[in-house]
């Protein structure tokens, strides 16, 4: 077997893939978050429980995220802007993918860094021009990877990580979103 140590338990992932082939119900996860308005455009969102493998699960500890807007938006800047959270999700998802694929392909990683840039024309959210979309116009991710592999193999890692990324998919493909009042 491989002597590569990227700290990813690939065997567990491969076993899960086999096990879930015959049990699509167990593969149904529900991720949850609950938020509370603080003041102004500042809100706090907490994440702890989720559902998966047929039962309620929880993280080891609760995570709390503050979102606000910067002072140039005349806000208090108690936390990062909501759309910046998308960059966090994308960066961490692709990075996890790079590590997993590298482990599976027997590639030892020494360092993996990514710089993300999301271009955003705020005339959309301000309603200045209805032809401008609200969300990102485009997102650029630049990986700098030091590993025991050729450039071609590293590019293949990055390509494969996008192919299997939950957040890449969620950002690039439309998703049905329902928002209602309880």
């Amino acid at each position: 077997m491989t002597t590569v140590a990227n700290g990813v338990n690939v065997q567990a992932l491969l076993d899960a893939r086999e096990a879930l082939k015959g049990a699509p119900e167990a593969a149904q996860f529900v991720w949850r978050a609950s938020s509370k308005w603080q003041d102004g455009v500042h809100s706090t969102t907490r994440v702890k429980e989720f559902f998966g493998l047929g039962q309620e699960q929880e993280h080891k500890s609760e995570a709390v995220f503050d979102a606000d807007h910067p002072e140039v938006f005349a806000a208090q800047d108690n936390g990062i802007t909501p759309i910046e959270y998308l960059l966090i999700g994308l960066a961490s998802c692709l990075t996890a993918g790079v590590a997993s694929v590298a482990q599976n392909r027997g590639i030892q990683l020494r360092s993996v860094e990514a710089a993300l840039e999301g271009k955003h024309d705020i005339r959309g959210i301000l309603g200045v021009d209805s032809d401008v979309r609200n969300g990102f116009n485009d997102i650029k991710v630049t990986f700098t990877i030091d590993a025991d592999a050729s450039r071609q193999d590293i590019e293949a890692l990055v390509a494969q990580s996008q192919k299997r990324s939950a957040v890449f998919d969620a950002l690039t493909n439309p998703t049905d979103v329902t928002v209602e009042v309880a």
Partner: protein
């Protein structure tokens, strides 16, 4: 041999008018039957493939009963009960050779396309003249999709091509047909039990190739040079709008990387086998050019798109098979053609026993091995035999 239509039925009735094989003539090999015409490097037209298969049927004396539609196959005793329009059969063993591409696959959201847009599958499509004037959205960029997109663009229509994962190949490499390399280097000989991810190999889309006299490459760079506009994978149709994935660049780089790796394998094979002298120098191709800004949606009510062509693949139809050997995805469960029910066999499916099984010339060795199993295992077990 029961055939619901005529000999070479799929070639006669399920292809468009300009259809040509993407495999070169010399590669159309059936047991004891090969292309003997003047142009071994050319590509057969529909009439030529039909004649080729008819020639084989005559030469082999295959006992074909045409017009015999099989409507049911059931397990009965230690064999099978076969029902056809023309009567019933009992047999010990059945070989399913009903093809891998009986029905065009159309995504469920086709139902949400506005009625003003005409929709065609490759089984309906004959040629550009049949379509209304105006824009066409071709969904799917494998062999069928790229060929139809090129033909429709040449007819003067604006063509948008929705591109998901695909297999990019140059038509020729180092002066030889790229499929010569697949054949000679042994890539196509890889056996099903040597392939890491067999499910994936069996679902691999067909390569972006077309058979023309000029042996031109029909990759996405060729198509964009013709004025075809690539967009991402069609992800949904919502409120009359087609929504495309923003992951176009990644499907481009996946295909470019895969092609490069394949060409590396060819180069290594030529070097190791002393073949460098018979072929041209190694080549590398420009990466697929991504549009500056690919469109993420298209208003299907606006009149820009008059027709959608679904080149989204084909699937087999086992509606007549009343034996529980079909998985939840509608695929036959088999091990190299030996189906999971005694005496039941399959031939003619993608990567059945080797990578070459997907193609016409894959049948010779597959048939020999599968029939060998039939003769030595199934028939040998016959009580009293």
């Amino acid at each position: 041999m029961l055939e619901r239509g005529e000999v070479a039925n799929s070639w006669r009735h399920e292809r468009w008018d300009s259809f040509r094989l993407l495999t070169p003539n010399w590669q159309s090999r059936l047991p004891g039957h090969r292309y003997e015409g003047p142009d071994p490097d050319g590509y057969m037209t529909m009439a030529e493939v039909t004649a080729f298969i008819e020639g084989f049927a005559a030469r082999s004396g295959a006992p074909v009963r045409t017009g015999a539609d099989v409507t049911s196959v059931r397990r009965a005793g230690d064999g099978y009960q076969v029902t056809t329009g023309g009567g019933e059969f009992r047999c010990r063993s059945v070989v399913i050779a009903s093809g891998a591409c009986n029905v065009p696959v159309v995504p469920p959201f086709a139902g949400a396309v506005p009625g003003s847009v005409e929709q065609l599958t490759p089984f309906d499509y004959r040629g550009p003249a049949q379509l209304p004037d105006g824009g066409v959205l071709v969904v799917g960029a494998s062999a069928t999709g790229v060929q139809l997109a090129a033909e429709l663009r040449r007819s003067g229509r604006p063509v948008t091509l929705s591109v998901g994962e695909h297999v990019r190949l140059p038509r020729t490499y180092r002066g030889r047909d790229v499929l010569w390399w697949m054949d000679a280097s042994g890539v196509w000989d890889q056996r099903f039990d040597e392939i890491d991810d067999l499910t994936r190999a069996r679902r691999l889309p067909s390569p972006q190739l077309i058979g023309t006299d000029e042996r031109t490459t029909l990759d996405l760079n060729a198509l964009t040079s013709m004025g075809v506009e690539p967009v991402g994978r069609l992800a949904a149709v919502r409120d009359g709008r087609a929504l495309f994935s923003g992951g176009l660049r990644n499907v481009f780089s996946l295909a470019d990387l895969k092609m490069e790796r394949l060409l590396d394998t060819f180069d290594a094979w030529a070097r190791e086998h002393g073949r460098d002298g018979e072929v041209g120098p190694p080549e590398r191709f420009a990466p697929t050019r991504a549009p500056e800004r690919a469109r993420l949606q298209l208003d299907l009510r606006g009149g820009e798109i008059r027709t959608i062509v679904w080149a989204t693949g084909f699937r087999p139809d086992y509606g007549w098979l009343d034996v529980p050997v079909v998985d939840e995805k509608g695929r036959l469960r088999h091990e190299g053609g030996v189906v999971d029910s005694p005496g039941l066999y399959a031939l003619g499916l993608p990567v059945l026993r080797r990578r070459r099984s997907t193609f016409i010339h894959g049948i010779e060795s597959d048939a020999r091995e599968v029939i060998d199993h039939l003769a030595t295992v199934t028939l040998a077990q016959r009580p009293g035999a």
